[in-house]
């Protein structure tokens, strides 16, 4: 965790140090990081520091298959997302989970659920801006009681500092550090989770496509070290305003037993 943060800090410093008259690092959205969220309602979805106006639709999937622990949790969801720049420094947005299918297995018990909601509000403020690097503070908040399950009230969100900078020609660095939290309350009690996370992705851009590799360290959500999330992504420009996005996250080690998270989406720049 500390090593990761140090690495990211060095990279950020290097990027700001290399600031020179050049193209804007945020000019091409194809280099934005793909999302491979592990947490419910995508409250931990990764993003870059560049502010955008765009709409997106994504299909996400996750798998937890813990055979020795007799536990499995598989799911997929469809989300719609919109983000809009308000001036140079502010972006607001919202994410709505249109449908969420989940399958859980505990030993021989099996259960499925098909649900919709919640609504997640997002905001980002560009804190430091230069042509080759940008630092933003981003926040996401699940609006309570916006799921179809009215017996349980949930909320969650994240607060993070995110950095995007040019590492070299064709190479972009995204780094983030922050916290993710969630709370749920029902008749029998309430539960709260808080996790810290920090990570970085390197994106290589080649013409109309971009490739991403990265890693993220997470701790606290599962009472201790959660995982090292190894990430990979591919972005393909589909015409002037559209791009397709594929992401894969594989948690390694730690208490988080999720095997993989996959994200597949299309984005249209407005």
């Amino acid at each position: 965790m500390i090593r990761g943060a140090a690495f990211a800090a060095c990279a950020i410093a290097a990027a700001f140090a290399r600031v020179a008259a050049a193209d804007d690092v945020c000019a091409d959205a194809v280099t934005d990081p793909v999302a491979t969220p592990l947490r419910d309602a995508r409250i931990d979805a990764q993003r870059g520091a560049c502010l955008r106006s765009e709409v997106a639709a994504a299909i996400g999937a996750h798998a937890l298959i813990d055979t020795p622990g007799f536990h499995g949790f598989l799911g997929g969801d469809v989300t719609l997302r919109g983000r809009f720049r308000l001036g140079e420094r502010v972006e607001v947005g919202a994410l709505a989970r249109v449908v969420d299918y989940a399958f859980a297995q505990t030993a021989v018990n099996k259960a499925t659920a098909l649900r919709f909601g919640p609504l997640v509000l997002e905001a980002a403020v560009a804190a430091v801006r230069s042509p080759r690097a940008q630092l933003a503070v981003v926040a996401a908040l699940e609006v309570p009681a916006t799921r179809d399950d009215t017996d349980t009230t949930r909320t969650g969100g994240q607060l993070a500092a995110v950095f995007t900078g040019e590492l070299a020609r064709r190479w972009t660095l995204h780094a983030r550090i922050g916290a993710t939290g969630a709370a749920a309350s029902s008749a029998g009690g309430e539960t709260r989770r808080l996790g810290l996370r920090g990570g970085a992705d390197a994106v290589w851009r080649g013409g109309r496509r971009a490739l991403l590799v990265g890693a993220e360290l997470q701790a606290g959500w599962h009472d201790g070290f959660d995982t090292t999330l190894v990430r990979a992504g591919y972005v393909q420009r589909l015409g002037a305003a559209w791009r397709g996005v594929v992401g894969l996250g594989v948690p390694i080690g730690g208490n988080d037993r999720t095997n993989a998270a996959v994200d597949l989406g299309v984005v249209r720049t407005l």
């Binding site: 297995q105 505990t106 018990n109 009215t150 709370a183 309430e190």
Partner: protein, 965 residues
């Protein structure tokens, strides 16, 4: 999106007004819509020991400190949190339930969220609202805890009983405080144990015919039921019922072993609460499930579950009222083809049952195991065939005795006409004289009292066989029974001189009604001791100390039968990590005696035996059985049942070809001292024969020989493990013990000393006597003190069996293997299987010189040649017999969906000329074998040294397969 916003607004409103919840301390009244009226009696809620006698239950499990609640209509006992019973990890569960003052047939009803051990509700506290009792108002008992070992999942159950309630209102809650999403349910799990309460499911195609329960397929079998019910098919027993308090359904499974009913399997996310409210009913006595169904349907009607109607009528036979017993008449009521209730007519033949209204009701009438009528419910008489009556008596030297009679059809027409079942399920019997697992008569057999016994039997031609055990002759009579007529038959048995003078016959593994898996009444159980000719019994009920002393005295048998209090420690909660196994195991079963019953204590004084290795169990039991006590490893290689291991050596994957050494992943476990004192291998008796067939012996002898060869010396025993009159015959197998005591002046210490020292032989009809010494000189009998041979010593073997029990092989077993001493024509055959002559089948000796070059052990077996078997899974123990009869044991002999097995005796023969024909008439499945306990040969007199495993059989320790947990 509009809908999303609408839901958001509604949810916000809902979230603003939090529900009352038991977990948060304010429990909403369960089943608040239900209301009942009556002339209320005083309520009771408090210690079970202080409860009014009229409110207590017969045959209950309550300890003094458990909580009893009663309104004078129903009585329930909730165990104290520290008093764990049966499958539950803690107390706080419903352990007794029945009509006030009536019979309890419940072992336990506990709550779970899944099948894993940590899915069980583990309660740590109990609270009782006593103020309400004084006000004659509702009483509430609330138990709180967590899922077992999961602190982040709090659970609670509240039991509520109103003054006029015919049952318990129950609410359970579970909160998922973990970070994971789970598939859980809340279900009341009732452990019936296969031989007691028979569930009745109101589902099309079910009723008493229940789908086979497979834990692996539980999710597919977990289906909704409008209500559920069950009853023990015994005249004194009540019925149980359950219905959901929302007027909907209870989801789950119904099986003879277990019923689990509650919520659907539900995806429970972090922060979610699961709740279940239901109404549990206990009602009636001897009328089948109907009284409970009447109550749950009345409740369901109040809960909006639909109107009801009543069907009624009368059963007659030969123009006379006919009822009062499930054997005579038992009726399943169907509405539009769906079984909805089941009722046993009263003695006057009348019956009434509540059913859901609106459909066409039909009566399916069964009598003596056969469906004899199917008529539209109309309130009139239903005629069933009149049975015949058999008056049977058995004598020995003109003195009436206890005996067992078994009826067999004498012709195929009779067989076709009288083969029956309990409403189409369970064991088929010809004739079906009663439910196989309940009191006499059961299946096709009955206990005959000295004063004679009358049996109602479907008309036909029968052979009536009488037996009083292998120390007696067998008698048979052929009768033709005519409907409505009484036919007397008197059978005479003679004592056979096959047991050495002064030896006692003993069955050291016996179950009765106190066991969770037995519905056999104590009186009948004790009569079978006498009828089988067994003199010493170790009462070994599952997880409860019993001794039958009251019943033995009441029947005047205390001078003829000595019963030692005992226990079969039966671990039920899987926990043991075994290398190479994905799922946790249990350690199997161990018998302990003598033990003193402690009335008022949990499990009558039996200590908890869950989640411990055998060594710890021995440490715990040793002070209770005392220095002279017996700790027996039961059926060491028996197959798991319902996911629970029955045999310790099989559970730990003991390999008899490998040395027992530290570091061996399986065998090394035997050396472990988990609590510092006893090793896991420190039993002092091992059960080699279990039941009337050879299967356990065919496996157990391999294990025993391996243990003996490595110096793990323990005597071997043979027992019946009988739970009823039809599952295993008491005394088959049995032990003959050179005890040096008598029944009249029974000295348990002397008897047990002889047992532990191996001064006994065991068999299911075959007695093997062995002596060692000089021809015409001094000889020594059995015993585990090593024998130092002198020149000229021989081993003298005598094999005895009643003339109706076949013997065709005598074998000598040493560490080097098995040698056939005699077979076939080399053995003597009795001239008349019904006579008294020819009980000695083999008498010979062999010189010791040349047999043993070094220290060794030997034991002698005799009986039928073992069925062809093989070890298909290469674990050192035979597992599969030639089940398709092609002369080869291979994959074609294995049951579908299994890797190996079964290993079993051939089917009972139907040819009267077959050697096993007669013995299997009175002991179904019998495959006679017997053995004498080992003699240790200390060749050079310098102390006995274990011979070790033969080099050819030795196997290196294998690395565990699969993933370690």
């Amino acid at each position: 999106m509009g809908r999303l916003i609408a839901v958001a607004v509604a949810a916000a409103a809902a979230g603003a007004c939090r529900h009352d919840t038991c977990l948060e301390g304010k429990c909403p009244a369960p089943c608040a819509q239900l209301a009942f009226t009556c002339a209320a009696k005083p309520m009771y809620a408090g210690r079970a020991a202080d409860a009014p006698v009229a409110y207590r239950l017969l045959h209950g499990n309550a300890a003094d400190d458990d909580t009893l609640i009663s309104n004078g209509i129903v009585t329930a006992v909730i165990s104290a949190p520290g008093n764990a019973n049966d499958l539950a990890p803690t107390g706080g569960n419903l352990i007794d339930f029945g009509p006030a003052g009536g019979v309890d047939d419940l072992t336990i009803t506990y709550q779970l969220s899944g099948i894993l051990p940590d899915d069980a509700f583990a309660y740590t506290s109990i609270s009782i609202e006593k103020d309400a009792v004084e006000q004659g108002d509702v009483v509430r008992v609330t138990v709180r805890g967590t899922l077992d070992g999961r602190r982040q999942v709090p659970v609670v159950t509240q039991y509520e009983l109103g003054p006029c309630d015919p049952g318990l209102r129950v609410r359970s809650e579970l909160f998922n405080g973990t970070a994971d999403t789970h598939a859980w349910m809340i279900a009341d799990t009732s452990h019936w144990g296969k031989r007691r309460v028979v569930p009745f499911s109101p589902a099309r195609g079910q009723g008493y015919v229940l789908p086979e329960l497979s834990l692996i397929e539980l999710a597919d079998l977990w289906v909704p039921y409008d209500y559920a019910s069950g009853a023990t098919p015994a005249a004194e027993s009540g019925a149980y019922g359950a219905v959901a308090c929302d007027g909907g359904s209870l989801s789950g499974v119904n099986d003879l072993e277990i019923s689990a009913l509650g919520s659907p399997m539900t995806l429970v996310e972090p922060g979610e609460t699961l709740a279940l409210e239901r109404f549990l009913v206990a009602a009636g006595a001897g009328a089948g499930p109907a009284p409970a169904i009447d109550a749950v349907l009345a409740a369901r009607a109040q809960l909006g579950g639909g109107a009801t109607s009543t069907v009624s009528g009368r059963v007659v036979a030969g123009g006379m009222p006919f009822g009062g017993d499930v054997r005579r008449a038992s009726i399943v009521v169907r509405v539009d083809g769906r079984p909805v209730s089941a009722v046993v007519p009263a003695a006057d033949g009348t019956f009434a049952a509540t059913v859901p209204a609106g459909g066409a009701a039909e009566l399916e009438v069964w009598s003596f195991g056969r469906e004899v009528a199917r008529v539209a419910a109309g309130g009139g008489d239903v005629e069933v065939p009149l049975p015949a009556t058999l008056q049977v008596s058995v004598t020995e030297r003109a003195t009436p005795i206890y005996a067992i009679v078994a009826l067999h059809p004498a012709d195929e027409a009779t067989r076709a006409a009288v083969t029956g079942t309990f409403h189409g399920s369970g064991l088929a019997c010809a004739p079906w004289l009663g439910p196989p697992q309940n009191g006499s008569p059961a299946c096709n057999r009955a206990i005959v009292d000295p004063q004679g016994t009358e049996l109602e039997v479907p008309p036909g031609k029968y052979r009536v066989y009488a037996t009083a055990g292998p120390e007696h002759t067998l008698a048979v009579a052929e009768v033709e029974l005519v409907a409505g007529e009484v036919t007397p038959v008197a059978l005479a048995l003679q004592k056979l001189d096959i047991v050495p003078a002064g030896w006692l016959t003993a069955d050291l593994h016996v179950h009765g009604r106190a066991s969770f898996d037995s519905g056999f009444p104590d009186e009948d159980r004790v009569k079978t001791f006498a009828a089988a000719g067994v003199q010493v019994i170790a009462a070994t009920d599952h997880d409860v100390i019993g001794d039958y002393s009251e019943t033995v005295r009441a029947l005047g048998l205390d001078g003829r039968i000595a019963v030692m209090g005992g226990l079969e420690a039966t671990q039920l909660i899987p926990w043991l990590d075994v290398p190479g196994e994905d799922v946790p195991r249990v350690i199997g079963h161990f018998n302990f005696w003598p033990l003193q019953r402690v009335p008022g204590s949990p499990r009558a004084g039996a200590p908890s035996d869950e989640r411990m290795e055998p060594g710890t169990l021995f440490d715990r039991m040793a002070p209770l059985v005392g220095d002279g006590g017996v700790m027996m490893l039961n059926h060491p290689w028996d197959e798991p049942l319902f996911g629970r291991d029955l045999g310790y050596l099989r559970a730990i994957k003991f390999d008899p070809r490998r040395a027992i050494v530290e570091g061996d992943p399986a065998n090394g476990a035997l050396l472990r001292r988990p609590s510092g004192q006893h090793r896991n291998a420190d039993w002092n008796l091992i059960e080699i024969l279990n039941g009337a067939d050879q299967t356990e012996m065919q496996k157990g002898r391999v294990l025993w020989a391996s243990l003996l060869a490595q110096g793990f010396i323990a005597a071997g025993a043979g027992n019946s493990d009988s739970h009823s009159l039809s599952d295993a015959q008491l005394g088959w197998a049995r032990n003959w013990v050179d005890a040096g005591t008598t029944v009249a002046a029974f000295d348990a210490r002397k008897f047990d000393d002889a047992v532990r020292d191996g001064r006994m032989v065991a068999g299911n009809g075959v007695i093997v006597l062995v002596e060692i010494g000089q021809v015409g000189g001094r000889r020594r009998g059995l015993g585990l003190t090593p024998y130092v041979p002198v020149a000229g010593d021989s081993v003298f073997v005598t094999v005895l069996a009643p003339p109706w029990v076949p013997v065709d092989e005598v074998r000598l077993v040493t560490s080097k293997g098995t040698e056939v001493l005699a077979s076939g024509g080399e053995l003597m055959q009795p001239p008349d299987p019904f006579g008294t002559a020819g009980t000695v089948r083999y008498r010979a000796s062999f010189a010791l010189a040349g047999k043993f070059a070094a220290d060794d052990f030997f034991f002698v077996e005799a009986g039928l040649r073992y069925p062809l078997a093989a070890d298909l899974d290469d674990d050192g123990v035979p597992d599969t017999t030639d089940n398709n009869g092609d002369g080869v044991v291979d994959a074609a002999d294995v049951e579908p969906d299994e890797d190996t097995g079964p290993i079993q005796a051939p089917p009972d023969p139907t040819d009267p000329a077959h050697p096993r024909f007669l013995v299997t008439r009175v002991v179904p499945g019998a495959y006679p074998e017997g053995f004498a306990n080992p003699i240790l040969i200390d060749v050079d007199g310098n102390g006995w040294t274990p011979p070790g495993l033969p080099a050819a059989r030795k196997r290196p320790a294998a690395a565990p397969r699969g993933r370690a947990r």
